[in-house]
């Protein structure tokens, strides 16, 4: 098999995940896109491991071992990420990452999202009152 097939598929999947991370608004959809990017890296690791284990007679199988480690770390990441998203949802009533702007530096710079800015501020004001 030509090595370009899995490499190109992996690049395409990675960029799909990149688009999802940048364009999605729901935090759980962003987590799904991160999973896509991790899977693209896994496909690359497996393809290069199969290539090297035959061509270079590399016996460490480092690509497959690293793939297993990546899968495990991704499982841990998704658990922690969902716990954080659920905690944020319980405190704020939303999982919309465009509305979580507490650490934004200046609120005046972005014009089109101004109506989205008032909602968390109103919620915070009522929560502190």
């Amino acid at each position: 098999m030509h090595l370009a097939y899995p490499a190109v598929l992996s690049a395409l999947l990675f960029c799909t995940g990149l688009y999802g991370v940048l364009a999605r608004r729901n935090a759980i959809l962003v987590l799904m896109s991160v999973e896509l990017m991790l899977n693209a890296v896994n496909l690359n690791l497996v393809a290069f491991d199969v290539w090297l284990s035959k061509t270079a007679e590399e016996t460490l199988h480092s690509g497959q071992a690293l793939t297993l480690f990546t899968i495990t770390i991704a499982a841990a990441e998704i658990g922690i990420g969902l716990a954080i998203v659920l905690a944020v949802y319980r405190n704020r009533g939303t999982s919309d990452i465009d509305k979580l702007r507490d650490t934004a530096e200046s609120h005046d710079t972005d014009g089109p999202d101004r109506d989205a800015l008032t909602a968390p501020q109103a919620e915070k004001a009522e929560a502190t009152a």
Binding site: P6, L12, L13, T16, A56, H61, T72, A74, A87, Y89
Partner: protein, 239 residues
């Protein structure tokens, strides 16, 4: 050891190239055709995952993507990775994501606010990254072939031997990391449970205020606002 193997590859470079000269560049083998078809399905499902407006459908299309990737691993003779992929990703990660969608009250049906306003900038970045990556990768590995004949490179025997001979220490460290992640998730959930008295009271004015904001992005809260005050405590009790 890897360096030595790579040096061996460089030294013995011409021989495998000469052996693989029989491959035609534009005459794909059956494995390549199967890889291409499954890859098209996988990529299409990934595109639907990041563009659909129905949140639950995104999770279900993610199942198709991850399953397609498992088939690709099988085609690359990495069977152990394929079954681990099916077990962990399709079996548990997607279920976790579906539970997360359910617990954050994702709207069933089309939600007009799934994509944020910087969609076109994201599309430009993704297309530029894809173009650059594909150009570099195709140019770098134009004459490289994976030899799929002979014993499988990723059989359970080979993977297990390498994992428990060469990768024991990272493996054990990873189990500690999993334990830390487990404890961390429990702590994150329990802290919210200990404070659940005040936030569940506080969530009432929050949802009460949401109809006053004329923002369509608020509608999941506004629609479920009546059940907001009672159900978080039930969720936490069930958990």
């Amino acid at each position: 050891m890897t360096l030595a193997a790579t040096a061996g590859l460089l030294a013995a470079g011409p021989a495998p190239v000469a052996a693989t000269e029989t491959h035609g560049f534009l005459s794909p083998t059956g494995v390549e055709i199967a890889f291409l078809l499954v890859g098209l399905v996988t990529f299409g499902a990934a595109l639907v995952t990041v563009t659909t407006r129905q949140l639950v459908h995104a999770a279900l299309w993610l199942v198709v993507t991850l399953g397609g990737l498992a088939v690709e691993y099988l085609l690359l003779t990495a069977e152990f990775i394929a079954w681990v992929q099916v077990l962990i990703y399709v079996g548990s990660v997607v279920v976790l994501l579906l539970f997360g969608l359910m617990l954050t009250r994702a709207p069933i049906g089309r939600s007009p606010d799934a994509d944020s306003g910087n969609r076109w900038a994201a599309l430009a970045v993704a297309v530029a990254a894809a173009g650059t990556l594909i150009w570099v990768v195709v140019d770098a590995f134009r004459t490289t072939w994976i030899d799929l004949d002979g014993p499988a490179a990723g059989s359970t025997k080979a993977t297990g031997e390498s994992l428990f001979q060469n990768w024991v220490l990272p493996f054990e460290a990873l189990s500690v990391l999993l334990l830390a992640a487990l404890v961390g998730a429990i702590v994150l959930s329990r802290k919210a449970k200990a404070e659940s008295d005040s936030p569940s009271v506080n969530s009432r004015p929050v949802t009460g205020s949401s109809p006053s904001v004329p923002d369509s992005r608020n509608h999941p809260i506004g629609r479920n606002g009546s059940a907001e005050g009672t159900e978080p405590s039930e969720q936490e009790g069930a958990r």
